[in-house]
């Protein structure tokens, strides 16, 4: 089951919904991993949708690509990573006309970053939908070195850039599409609790 009910959370955290087909002459869907399942469900609700849809999909080791291709979207792109796909995303958003509908599905990191691209391209928030699917991993910014560590699933964790032991502060920046990681053993160096899985 790829759906996860996030616990009651803080004010800076985005709230994700459920994708629904909307009228429009062009549709852009960006998803990673189990986010594909949200697109498959969307397609099953509106048979005419896919002929006007561009799908940008990052499998992250899953095997949904063939199912997405079988939907026969107008354009389909499979990217090896978000970073590798971002220029294409920017181009598509830059070329878009008024009324483009954007659908984001998958991990928080993917949705947050793609949301930033869409908003900075001038897509109104009311034309962007999100649906969380799959991993509850968080994208974390180290507040000390500013480095981003992707796909963090435990708290605490080690910054992949500066190596500090960080705890996951429940504070989210849309601009960075990341939660904040703060040194956990600053007041007692070396005293780092055993990492536990997020939301456990």
């Amino acid at each position: 089951m790829s759906k996860f009910q996030f616990p009651e959370s803080i004010a800076s955290r985005p709230v994700y919904g459920t994708l629904e087909p909307r009228p429009g002459k062009a549709h852009l869907m960006i998803a990673d991993a189990e986010g594909a399942e949200a697109i498959l469900e969307l397609a099953s609700q509106d048979a005419a949708l896919m002929a006007k849809t561009h799908i940008i999909y990052i499998p992250k080791g899953t095997d949904f690509s063939e199912k997405l291709r079988a939907l026969k979207p107008a354009q389909f792109y499979e990217g090896p990573s978000y970073d590798a796909s971002v220029q294409r995303i920017q181009k598509v958003l830059g070329d878009a006309h008024m009324g483009l509908q954007v659908y984001l599905a998958g991990t928080e990191g993917l949705m947050g970053q793609a949301m930033n691209e869409a908003v900075s391209a001038g897509i109104p928030a009311s034309a962007i939908q999100t649906e969380h699917r799959g991993s509850v991993a968080r994208r974390m910014q180290c507040v000390h070195c500013k480095g981003i560590t992707e796909d963090v699933v435990t708290d605490p964790f080690v910054c992949s850039h500066c190596g500090l032991n960080l705890f996951v502060r429940d504070h989210y920046s849309r601009r960075l599409a990341a939660f904040q990681g703060v040194c956990i053993d600053a007041e007692d160096p070396g005293n780092v609790p055993e990492p536990v899985e997020l939301y456990k």
Binding site: A11, A186, E187
Partner: protein, 355 residues
């Protein structure tokens, strides 16, 4: 009076000291013997002569040293001053407000001569005499917000107002109580306060926002906030927490009087005329416990406030681990006598310590 500027440090050897003058005018934040959050706003239209509330932008004996400390922080981390592209006009509004206020309030220290858009700014303590063109960025060495806040004590958040909401879209933040401008920039009022415990549930932020959205030009407001800091460290930033956090563990019964500081923020709110943004200066005042207790009323009251503060607040303010040693020290200065209402020291009328 003429201010004698101290030559002191807020890091390394921590030579920061408050004179007797600075102690007596310290903005003690507790108006009664207990503390809970509140939207404790009042008009910022002066105050008793010599108090930190008297002028729009208070200048005190720490001015030059605080500006040197800010320059050190900015050299290490330029991201402490940021302004989103649409906030440049608010930066000019800020520059104008501060230059006009300081030159009117401290004519012996600051001068502003305006001839149309040709402005000459004289900052005597910092030995600056600079002519520039108002609203022309190319005539300043850096952006207007950075330029003027490198010459003004306190942190500055510049809040854009749109959609019935305030947005943290620019700032100069080098003396903060553990929040990051670089992380929070672009957030709305509720988002950047997200990590604060209890206050959301109490409706504090909703009421505060409603008030702030309606602050009018020429009618600034103010409130106090407070926390605790070990050593007179201005830059208690999250960015450097892995470096300064360890200092919190150095308190002993012998050194606490000198090392433990009450940290008070005088927060003011000014509507800016062209941009309609809200300027939010956050001015930090530090005082050592050993200096607070020279005022008998403050010694009694601080003990009671620290003793009775809810655990969540002591944790959020970062002194839960040090609370026992703080109480051991402060209890020596609490003889159980009642205290007079209000924040003022009342040195003439309050009884001396009776133990």
């Amino acid at each position: 009076m003429t201010i004698q500027f101290n030559n002191e440090t807020f890091r390394d050897d921590y030579s920061f000291r408050n004179s007797d003058w600075a102690i007596k005018r310290f903005p003690f934040p507790f108006h009664e013997d207990s503390y809970m959050y509140s939207v404790n706003m009042e008009q910022h239209r002066g105050g008793p002569e010599g108090s930190v509330y008297e002028k729009r932008f208070d200048v005190d004996e720490h001015y030059l040293s605080e500006m040197q400390d800010r320059a050190i922080v900015l050299a290490e981390d330029p991201l402490r001053c940021q302004s989103l592209p649409h906030m440049t006009l608010a930066g000019w509004d800020t520059l104008e407000l501060i230059m006009v206020s300081k030159s009117e309030d401290y004519p012996e220290l600051f001068e502003l001569h305006r001839d149309g858009n040709r402005w000459r700014w004289v900052n005597k303590p910092m030995k600056i005499d600079h002519t520039f063109t108002f609203l022309d960025e190319t005539t300043l060495p850096c952006g207007p917000l950075e330029y003027i806040t490198r010459q003004t004590q306190g942190d500055f958040a510049v809040l854009d107002q749109r959609d019935e909401m305030l947005w943290m879209d620019a700032g100069m933040v080098t003396t903060q109580a553990d929040w990051s401008l670089d992380f929070d920039i672009g957030m709305n009022f509720f988002e950047w306060h997200a990590p604060v415990p209890l206050a959301h549930e109490m409706g504090i932020f909703k009421r505060a926002l409603k008030f702030l959205l309606n602050v009018q030009q020429g009618a600034p407001a103010r409130r106090l906030n407070w926390t605790m800091t070990v050593n007179p460290l201005l830059d208690t930033s999250p960015e450097n927490y892995h470096k300064w956090g360890i200092q919190k563990t150095t308190l002993t019964p012998e050194n606490i009087g000198a090392k433990q500081h009450l940290r008070v923020e005088l927060q003011t709110f000014f509507r800016l005329p062209r941009s309609n943004a809200l300027l939010f200066p956050i001015r930090c005042y530090l005082i050592a416990f050993q200096d607070i207790v020279t005022v008998p009323k403050w010694g009694r009251r601080l003990h009671r406030v620290v003793r009775d503060l809810p655990e969540e607040l002591a944790t959020y303010k970062g002194f839960i681990a040090n609370r026992p040693v703080m109480l051991d020290y402060l209890s020596q200065y609490d003889d159980g006598l009642p205290t007079s209402p209000g924040v003022w020291p009342d040195l003439e009328t309050e009884p001396p310590l009776a133990k």
